[in-house]
Symmetry: C2
Subunit: 262 residues, 2 copies
Amino acid sequence: MAKPKRVTAGVLLIGDELLSGRTRDVNLQEIATFLAPLGIAVAEARIVSDEADRIVMALNALRTSCTYVFTTGGIGPTHDDITADAVAAAFGVSIDVRDDALAVIEDWYSRSKTPLTESRKRMARIPDGASLVTNPVTGAPGFQIGNVFVMAGVPKIMRGMLEDVAHRLEGGAVTHAITVSAGGLREGDLAEALRTLQAGTLEVSIGSYPFFIETRDGAPRRGTNLVARSTDQGALNSAGEALMQIVRDAGGEPVLEDGAKR
Amino acid sequence: MAKPKRVTAGVLLIGDELLSGRTRDVNLQEIATFLAPLGIAVAEARIVSDEADRIVMALNALRTSCTYVFTTGGIGPTHDDITADAVAAAFGVSIDVRDDALAVIEDWYSRSKTPLTESRKRMARIPDGASLVTNPVTGAPGFQIGNVFVMAGVPKIMRGMLEDVAHRLEGGAVTHAITVSAGGLREGDLAEALRTLQAGTLEVSIGSYPFFIETRDGAPRRGTNLVARSTDQGALNSAGEALMQIVRDAGGEPVLEDGAKR
């Protein structure tokens, strides 16, 4: 049987506010969850500030090492929105206000009776050779150039843009996941058995994640979530059974969780 | 006057679960918020999977470009915890179970009457030349090697370890921030004036962040937060005044927000 095709994504999150601690990113998780059912696995993510050279360097690294790259942030109308220009620089193409993008923005703002200022026109700056990505929330489009998709940083707008991205992607083998939760057990109670299982099950990747929950009555609850991930559903099911048994052998009561949690 | 010293941090978040979408990282924001008052600014963050070559490559890039590097994740007792070995490989030093780390772990587990398995002993694997970082939550230590601090991925443990990190850091000039919130105004209403302000105020960095809030009665509320950041408190105060005036000029009512939000 042919080895299933591995399709990878790089995610580049752009914005001073993500590095200063002001804002906690939510887009990476959203993108990963969106891509997973398409058979596209996020291989690496980087977070950089609104500085052209940092964006260019990170983008060039990711777009050569990953099948696709998804960027968020820096495509609004203000002076600190420099992503489009940086992407053009990374690809070595020119950039200017483009008629197709301007038409979209003009139409959007005329409907909402908002004046089309010079700053808003800047949002029509699109690199040569790029195709537009529809923004169903605030009008100003994102764009695709080569294997790179450039999207807004505001989560609601980013999610809207993803809808115009999915049909452009060629996915690979879908990675499925099974989670077995072992309340009351620590990683160290399970580690030896997990190591043996992983060594004998190369087509399944097994992860172990301790958790600590403060319950309502103040008593801490702890345990370990075991996650098996694989493109092979049969191997995954066997690994799931094995994980259940490992938890039982350690004196725990395994709980099979929603498979959507990867 | 001498230019204030710029001290930077790279953050390396390690773990398949962060890239698969299973887990949303909270450590980056925590680290950034912890470092800011020390005068250390996060310059770049990377998120990589539990694969040795990816960890080594990212760590070597960050530790040469930043003053300090902080890693989270991959130092537990299970087979997928390979961070310590990868860090040793990145530094080209050997690694083995070390007596000082083992003593800490033995002491911790004997108090909690938890058996010290071979897997738990693995948590005493510390690279040659590293110093231990105390873990006040679950015992097994992190470590410092050169300019790199290796910490746990579980947020509660990571926060605990930071307490034993602060005193080892030499900070620089502290970046202060002022946030002016402009409810009801969009970025495009303010962009021209912001551009002019930024062009004339090079010692202050001005950021603009649109927000969309779904209110309880379902009516969306939108607006723009303007953030000025600077190591120069005088310049920052002037910029704050200028931002307030820009919002008023655009017909809005500026609200000065808690300065702790960077």
